[in-house]
């Protein structure tokens, strides 16, 4: 209103107000021109000139009132997280409390995953500078053995996750960055193609975002089985596979509990992690990559995840996981260790239990009360907090790297004898499921997820409906007099809110 008045009247209003270009002779007093005078326009709009400053003041007050109001609401309103209903209590006594079932009878082909001079480089493009490239992993030659838990440790920024993603061929650049991999990846000593790698490797990301919160564990695994398992398997076989995994992963006691999400509590973090792992195990991968499977979990759940991994390793799979921090007893469960420093150089690679003697031989001994993993990580990390310490630790790390570089011997690296038959490696990339099958499954799953989430249903409809009601109260019923022309036209613009609501539901 203030803006309109300012436009048409200004501060010093003449009796007729301003005059807008009038088609007939430009005279404010001419009745033909009445239509074009400011005072007429203001009058039809139903505004009073007195509101010029008043309107400004009131809008000003509104800004403050709303700000204060939001502050008060924020202070008063408690944050509450609802606990998701337990669908029906599973038979927990039958499967014990989440211990993985070991079935030594089952064996999978053993697969040695080797890296030969594998290096990783990230390139970032800028509009005005030339392309910058940064090496995140220096040429690495290591092998990861089947039937063992291979652990990659290192401080943040040492390229652990990038290495895993590169192994699973899941490195993706953004708009301005791209990754470049050098060197070769071998399977049982034979250079592997992307198709081969993709068909035998599964990757479990660090977070469990890929789970639908309103599905139960059993449903999650059944749908995943339907979507991920090849069309050659029958529906019953797929369901059976999902059921097998529930027992194998020790999820029997919570199979009928909801997974839960950010605002809705469901199964615990460790159980969620095991569900994520189970989904990746569905397709029976020979090599399983896990990004920080134990971080963010408490001791018991972390060890339950490690138990699962141990059981999988016992089946002959190659387990490769990264770890940032872990307890001493978890450290003891590791078979092979690859230590990376910041910048992606190897500080140690070999048997996990031999890492202490190795560092001991270099004059670094671990105190009795020091956490093994912490001790090792501290050794290879440059302390950036204090100047003198930084120089000291930097020279120590460089020393360690040099020692490793020089003492690199064949026994641990790349020359691991390959006892397995090469023919085990085949390009077994199976055909994707037919469109209609996956489509119905994806549709059913999302529908189930949505139908159990009343918030989503409300979110998807309430905005349009609410807005429509407010507008109806405001406009209705539209009259047929001169003032209504304006209202009626503007009412067409009420279509704006629906589109904005659709945006909010989309985002």
């Amino acid at each position: 209103m203030t803006l309109t008045l300012n436009e048409f009247v200004g501060s010093a209003a003449s009796p007729t107000g301003g005059l807008w270009p009038c088609p007939v002779p430009n005279d404010p007093m001419n009745p033909e021109c009445k239509l074009y005078t400011s005072s007429y326009i203001i009058q039809t709009l139903g505004f009073s000139p007195a509101w010029l400053l008043r309107g400004l003041g009131i809008s000003f007050c509104f800004a403050f009132v709303f700000l204060a109001l939001s502050g008060i609401i924020l202070a008063i309103l408690p944050e509450d997280i609802s606990v998701s209903r337990i669908k029906n209590t599973g038979d927990s006594s039958r499967y014990g409390y989440g211990n993985p079932i070991r079935r030594a009878t089952r064996k999978v082909p053993r697969m040695v995953l080797g890296l030969q001079d594998h290096a990783l480089e990230v390139k970032s493009r800028h509009f005005f500078h030339k392309t910058l490239s940064k090496i995140i992993l220096r040429p690495v030659s290591v092998s990861f053995d089947p039937g063992k838990i291979n652990v990659i440790m290192g401080p943040s920024g040492s390229g652990k996750t990038s290495l895993l993603r590169s192994l699973s061929r899941k490195l993706r650049g953004g708009f301005s960055t791209s990754y470049e991999t050098l060197g070769a990846i071998t399977l049982n000593g034979v250079p592997a193609s992307t198709g081969m790698l993709k068909s035998i490797i599964s990757f479990v990301p660090q977070d469990d975002d890929g789970l639908m919160p309103a599905l139960t564990v059993r449903e999650t695994l059944r749908y995943a089985a339907g979507i991920r398992l090849p069309p050659s398997m029958s529906k019953e076989e797929k369901v059976q596979r999902a059921e097998d995994l529930i027992i194998q992963m020790g999820l029997g006691h919570c199979a009928d509990h909801f997974v839960g999400g950010k605002s809705k509590k469901g199964i615990s973090g460790g159980e969620k992690r095991r569900v994520s792992i189970a989904i990746q195990i569905l397709a029976d991968p020979l090599v399983l990559l896990l990004d920080e499977p134990t971080s963010g979990l408490d001791v018991w759940t972390a060890s339950s995840v490690l138990d699962v991994l141990r059981a999988l390793a016992d089946e002959g799979r190659t387990i490769i996981m990264t770890a940032h921090q872990c307890r001493s007893d978890a450290f003891e469960a590791f078979d092979k260790l690859l230590l990376l420093t910041r910048g992606g150089s190897i500080a140690y690679s070999g048997e996990a239990q031999k890492v202490l003697p190795y560092f001991g031989s270099l004059g670094f001994t671990c105190g009795l009360h020091t956490n093994l993993a912490d001790f090792v990580l501290d050794l290879i990390t440059v302390d950036l907090q204090r100047r003198d310490k930084e120089d000291l630790s930097r020279s120590r790390v460089e020393n360690l790297l040099n020692v490793w570089e020089n003492g690199k011997n064949c026994s641990m690296v790349a020359c691991t004898p390959v006892g397995e038959n090469h023919s085990a490696v085949q390009d077994i990339q199976h055909a994707p499921n037919p469109f209609l099958d996956t489509f119905t499954l994806v549709l059913k799953r999302s529908a189930l997820n949505i139908s159990r989430n009343p918030e989503t249903i409300i979110a998807r409809t309430s905005n349009v409906i609410g807005m429509t009601i407010v507008f109806s109260l405001f406009f209705s019923p539209l009259q047929s007099d001169a003032e209504a022309v304006q209202t009626r036209m503007v009412s067409h613009n009420q279509y704006l809110p629906p589109i904005i609501r659709s945006l909010t539901s989309a985002t």
Binding site: E180, G210, R460, V464, S472, S476, P477, D481, M489, T507
Partner: protein
């Protein structure tokens, strides 16, 4: 509004993950998303149609109800498509995509033909792909044709109201056009926007293949480059 933020990004994250595991295609995901969105969209459009035609009195007829419903349905669908596009482009920043798209919508709505009547050539050209333009051009015509406006005596000029019929209003706003085609174009745009959304999601998922092509094209400087496929 906060709980609305929960719909697309969560589904998208699950899809991204399963897509990277080679489970199903972009079209499978978006087809199922669209199909699930339909009933909600239809329900809210019907309610909108009832209120717009009968309560707000755009015109109290079953015909106007149908027109309002179809328009609302199309525009909401366009909005959803644009939301998908922005959520794909700024996949880490929900807030940014919301701001970018709401800014775009405000501009589109301002250019629709009621608030601004004359546009500079560039904006006028871009307006041809704006659903708001077609929306206003058909709803306004359908609701205003044949309507008679009255006015108070002091507003009369030469003994008659400056605006006395719906057609007068339409002429005033330059909207005296054939509404049918505008409605058809709006429906086509709704489909087109969804197709664009699908294309954007597809492109965002195959970027790395293109990059590989680029590498081959320009020749790789390194001796052995394992591509990103």
């Amino acid at each position: 509004m906060l709980q609305n933020v929960a719909v697309y990004p969560t589904e998208r994250d699950i899809f991204y993950r399963e897509f990277s595991d080679n489970c199903y295609s972009v079209s499978t995901f978006l087809a199922s998303y669209t199909l699930l969105e339909l009933p909600f969209n239809l329900l809210s459009s019907l309610i909108f149609g009832v209120l717009a035609a009968f309560a707000i009195n755009l015109q109290r007829s079953a015909f106007m109800f149908a027109i309002a419903t179809i328009n609302c349905f199309c525009i909401v669908s366009c909005g959803e498509s644009l939301g998908i596009v922005f959520c794909t482009l700024f996949d880490e920043h929900v807030g940014l995509s919301m701001h970018a798209s709401s800014a775009l919508f405000s501009v589109g709505a301002t250019m629709a033909g009621i608030v601004t009547l004359k546009l500079p050539p560039v904006l006028h050209a871009t307006n041809y792909i704006s659903p708001f333009k077609y929306l206003v051009a058909n709803v306004a015509v359908y609701s205003l044709r044949g309507r008679v406006f009255t006015c108070a005596s002091e507003q009369e000029i030469d003994g008659r109201c400056p605006v006395s019929s719906g057609e007068d209003v339409l002429r005033l706003y330059n909207l005296d056009v054939d509404p049918r085609w505008n409605l058809v174009v709006l429906a086509v745009l709704a489909v087109f926007y969804r197709a664009v959304a699908m294309a954007v999601v597809k492109v965002s998922r195959i970027k790395w293949k293109w990059r590989l092509g680029n590498e081959i094209l320009w020749g790789s400087r390194k001796s052995r480059t394992l591509g990103m496929v």
